[in-house]
């Protein structure tokens, strides 16, 4: 088919001035900068801390930064999937704590544990299944009853941790079998196995989000749910998958947390949710859905971890740490607002 539209097809449809000139070009540059600003912040943090803080610039400390970022980074994968799909999952922190507490309760030799001395892998299978159930529970209320995901997961955030404490009696437990702790005790180049697993998760889930049909549909739903439906995407099935995936990843994080501390307490992982949200949003994931990439989230988690490390090394007051946490969330939200402004 030939169309006679205009003598110079290169100008056809150019309703706006060509890109790169004037205000439009400036806006475009601002958007690109804001989309990738996470890397600038990360490099700035690492360079400045390395130059100014004695003891920051060392292999041990860099490994430690990676090691300390594992939980936030992995939970960040879960949260990123949910946010990109246009929803929110506040329950990730509690699901992680729940999995840690329940798996320790099932396996540990502590007098406060269940006394079942369950096989590690059986216990892990159970917490993964329970994680999937929490995800399906969230999805049911969001998809069938059309409740806002913020409110649904706010309630599971409270309920799930409560359940874990209710079942176990809330006492601290320790004494895990060796198999349970392998992810922490096995080391390559003095780096614990869980760091490599974190990297493997990022490689796999980046591919899953960018390179598969499921991932593409997550972006479509986050960007324009009505279009997704009109073009035949089974929106409910994809979103169910996203919520279940998020909770299962959170359950895996719980396993890693229990393995590292060789036990569990009722209050573990408290406050992780806000760090996860800060890492994810600084990393370029939009709270409005449809935007962001996992590699940015990883950088976001590393920023948080390097700031914690800097505060630790300088023996800063723990209250200053709290202030920094709060400010980081503010930075994240402001970045998100700026991105929206330039869209």
């Amino acid at each position: 088919m030939t169309l006679e539209i205009s003598p110079a097809p290169a100008t056809a449809g150019a309703g706006l001035p060509a890109a790169g000139t004037g205000r439009a070009g400036l806006k475009r540059a601002a958007r690109r900068l804001l989309d990738n600003i996470v890397w600038l912040i990360l490099v700035l943090c690492v360079v400045v801390f390395s130059l100014t803080i004695t003891g920051f610039f060392s292999w041990e400390n860099y490994v430690n930064i990676l090691y300390q970022s594992v939980f936030i980074a992995i939970l960040g994968i879960a949260e990123a999937f949910v946010l990109i799909s246009g929803n929110m999952d506040l329950s990730v922190e509690s699901v992680a704590a729940f999995s840690a507490i329940i798996s320790v309760w099932l396996c540990a030799a502590s007098p406060y544990a269940s006394g079942l001395h369950m096989n590690t892998w059986a216990a892990l299978a159970i917490i993964l299944a329970l994680g999937a159930c929490v995800g399906a529970f969230n999805a049911f209320f969001v998809l069938r009853l059309k409740v806002d995901s913020f409110l649904v997961t706010l309630s599971t955030y409270i309920v799930v941790r409560g359940l874990a404490v209710l079942i176990t009696g809330g006492m601290g437990m320790n004494g895990l079998p060796a198999a349970f702790r392998l992810v922490d005790t096995v080391k390559v180049l003095r780096i614990p196995l869980m760091v490599f697993l974190m990297v493997a998760f990022y490689v796999f889930f980046s591919f899953f989000l960018r390179g598969t049909r499921f991932g593409r549909h997550v972006y479509v739903i986050g960007g324009n749910k009505a279009a997704a439906y009109n073009f035949g995407i089974s929106v409910d099935r994809v979103l169910l998958g996203v919520f279940v995936l998020s909770s299962v990843i959170a359950a895996v994080t719980g396993w890693f947390m229990a393995a590292r501390t060789n036990g569990a307490t009722a209050g573990m992982a408290t406050g992780f949710l806000f760090e996860v949200l800060a890492a994810v949003v600084i990393g370029g994931v939009s709270l409005q859905g449809g935007m962001g990439s996992l590699i940015g989230v990883f950088a976001g988690a590393l920023i948080l971890s390097s700031i914690h490390s800097a505060l630790n090394i300088t023996a800063a007051s723990p209250f200053l740490t709290e202030v920094m946490r709060g400010l980081l969330i503010l930075v994240a939200v402001v970045l998100d607002a700026l991105r929206r402004m330039f869209r």
């Binding site: 150019a14 390179g211 986050g222 960007g223 324009n224 009109n230 073009f231 035949g232 449809g290």
Partner: protein, 290 residues
Amino acid sequence: MRIARSGSPRPGRRTPGNAESGASRAAGPAHSGKVILKLEDVSKSFGSVVALDGVSFEVFENEKVALVGDNGAGKSTLIKIISGNFPPDRGTICLDGKKVSFRSPVDARRAGIETVYQDLSVCNNLDSISNLFIGRELTRSLLGLQVLRGRQMEETTNAVLRKVGISMPSSRDRMEYLSGGQRQAVALGRFVAWGKRLVLLDEPTAALGVRETRQVLTLIEATARERTSILLISHNLLQVFEVVDRIVVLRHGKVVGVREKKKTTPDEIVGMITGAIFIKARGRKEDPGT
């Protein structure tokens, strides 16, 4: 004027261009005489609100038909039924002579009905490639994962965009970086690429400037010159008269008139839309039969 309506027994209507379409055929229509889409007695109510009440008309191969009517006349409901968003309460839809019942938009698309919506059609957070292939991504299976075939989709997209005749810097740019006309071009690219039998256009130019509208209309004309039939919904009678062959007027959920473009005037159509001209074509009961 004749609306295909069943007063006579079915068997005699097998052959295309039979008696019931005789009147329109005699006028020397642009189409080949083969019925692509046939609606019979399609009705739909939402609670006590009757959105469609016994709608019957047909679209021929290569024909461009406009569906016009005031707000609330039932145009959108009808489009949603044809495109498989929900089923009618009563009545039948035939595509290429076969009765169809779509349970979802996917069913309709598989049958060859492509729909271009006025505003719900693009994802601004994604690039042109992703947008063209929403819901029909090309994939290959790898360890149970449906892996996207990126390069193949990009090549197809570039070919389609060339065909649409709207240039853009790169098909990998997110839609939010593009102008309104370029965005609509991508949406229309879908029907160039996938529209097999029938394209439903729901106010395709509502959000466009003069120049982009011109391009869209050219594209519609060019597409229908090929194999595809078009059902266009538009408020803009000027556009309707420019593009289509035949006009179906809906009022209060009923077809109040079907006119060949050449045999009517915008005034008459406006009259039918507003009810100033009342046509006796309301339903079976008043049909004297053939």
